[in-house]
């Protein structure tokens, strides 16, 4: 079954073709980062306006690139939530209408299911059951993945997502938007031991996260220190990054011990962070466990993961006909196959 996947939950328009038995055929992505940079954050209305302009041209590009035709597509999948409602609605309305016109099965996919299954697009892939750490600008989740559609959220952030903390802290430090990756780059030259920042909820028995207090601690630090000094900037960045990563790694290792699961999928924009990968690797090796990552370009939002998750669900007989309502808030716990 050849499945078209459409992702439009935030500030990237992604489309892809996946065929079961064959694999990923092609994928195309348009990132709106430049549009939102001038505003210092994602403007939902502008994101929606951009999605409706880019979606169909991207699908045209996808078909040309893969040398496939519309007539060959046998199923359609789109991101139904969570995300920005107006942005989600563009992909949902288009996908369901295209499916209606071509009389094809269609399914709405949970964006985080896309992320946590994305390492299954790679050669080196985990087998069910496994643990998933999803860290992005919008989410920080530890999930127990029993099988397709059987997920238990073990921990999540009570306030800011990890990537959001990176971006907000970068903004406090005067870095350009989106600052998270710039802050991580700056941290490479810094001394992570120079400033003692809190490790929120580190010693709590549960697997919850909290990152908003850390951002406040950095704000206080910035007031005291001279940010014009490059060394100070790098040391603050390194100290902040170490604090976030320490908590992410500690909670993930705790989850490995609690569940006994030896395979950990790491996905989402922050999963590209080098320090996170190094620290997690060290910790997991000690426990005899192993990490699985999607390729770098699939760490962030993309259509490939939606086409893939959609293909699995459609192959299992799931369809959502005619209804293109979206779910801006949607817990993974609610999912079934």
């Amino acid at each position: 079954m050849l499945v078209l996947g459409i992702e439009s939950s935030c500030d990237e328009t992604g489309v892809a073709l996946y065929e079961n038995g064959v694999g990923l055929i092609a994928h195309v992505l348009f990132s709106q980062v430049a549009t939102h940079a001038a505003y210092g954050g994602v403007v939902p209305e502008l994101a929606s306006r951009d999605h409706i302009q880019k979606l169909l041209p991207l699908i045209g590009q996808l078909l040309t690139q893969s040398q496939r035709t519309l007539a060959e597509i046998q199923g359609i999948a789109y991101t139904r939530g969570p995300g920005l409602s107006g942005a989600l609605l563009v992909g949902a309305a288009f996908a369901q209408s295209l499916a209606f016109a071509r009389k094809l099965p269609c399914v709405g996919i949970h964006h985080m299911e896309g992320h946590l299954l994305s390492p299954l697009l790679e050669q080196n892939q985990p087998e069910f059951p496994f643990l998933a750490l999803i860290v992005s600008g919008g989410h920080t989740l530890l999930v127990k993945v029993q099988a397709l559609g059987d997920y238990e959220v073990l921990g999540e952030s009570l306030d800011d997502a990890a990537g959001e903390a990176f971006d907000k802290t970068a903004k406090l430090m005067g870095l350009a938007y989106p600052g998270g990756p710039l802050l991580a780059k700056l941290a490479e030259q810094g001394d992570a031991m120079r400033y003692a920042l809190p490790r929120p909820l580190l010693h709590r028995a549960d697997l919850m996260f909290s990152f908003s207090g850390l951002k406040t601690a950095v704000a206080q630090l910035i007031d005291k220190e001279d940010l014009r000094c490059v060394k100070v900037q790098a040391d603050i960045a390194a100290s902040f990054q170490a604090a976030v990563i320490d908590v992410l790694v500690a909670k993930t290792l705790k989850a490995v011990k609690q569940t006994g699961l030896q395979q950990v999928v790491v996905s989402g924009g922050v999963s590209a962070n080098v320090w996170l990968r190094t620290q997690l690797q060290a910790g997991l090796t000690q426990l005899g466990a192993k990490a699985f990552y999607p390729r770098l370009e699939f760490c962030t939002d993309n259509g490939a993961m939606i086409a893939f998750a959609g293909c699995l669900r459609l192959a299992a007989g799931q369809v959502s006909e005619f209804d293109f309502s979206v779910k801006p808030r949607w817990s993974l716990n609610e999912l079934r196959l």
């Binding site: 505003y39 209305e45 309305a93 288009f94």
Partner: protein, 224 residues
Amino acid sequence: MQLLAIETSSDACSVALYQQGALLVHEAIMPKQHSQQLLPMIDALLAEGQTSLTACDAIAFGRGPGSFTGVRMAAGVAQGLAFGVNRPVIPISTLAAIAWQARVTDLQTYLLATLDARMHELYWAVYRLAANGLEEIQAESLTSYQDLRHFLKQAPFESPVICGPGWAAYAPKEEVCWQLAAPVLPSARSIAELAALNWHQRIDPADALPRYVRDKVAVMATIK
């Protein structure tokens, strides 16, 4: 000629099927239900017309102005349907649709179509009946009620028939000197009729985009 028309720019949701001059219309007021009801409505409409989407020569949609989400939904559905059956799209102004609904037979009469744009502003445009439906006399605008009144005072035409729900939302109750049509919402009925009259305006589905009129929707961050 067979056309399918979609209109979702307001709380009303309507679909119309134009078949060789005959018109079938399904409509309902359904705030926030459009995304669940629109495709089932189209399905029922096509069934009643004993036809299919592939038998349609084009898809028409109300391209705004109106609710941003609503007009984007109409554009997304029109794009999906049209791309799916390889047909062109005909975008129709929601203000023109309102004027068309309130049209009078006198060709010299001007029609002022209005919609409530919220934030103390109206979307409006002025039309006159013409061979291809409507002739646009004053392009779609976004202004306060006061600025619209100012425009009307200086306008080179006699007081127009005022239609659409925008005017009543801002005009003081004592304003009796105007000719008012019933404040109807845009309907797929008039979208279909105008599309049939503007057959030459069909475009590629990828170009079937909303026209928001209000383009300033965010404030740039101040660069420190």
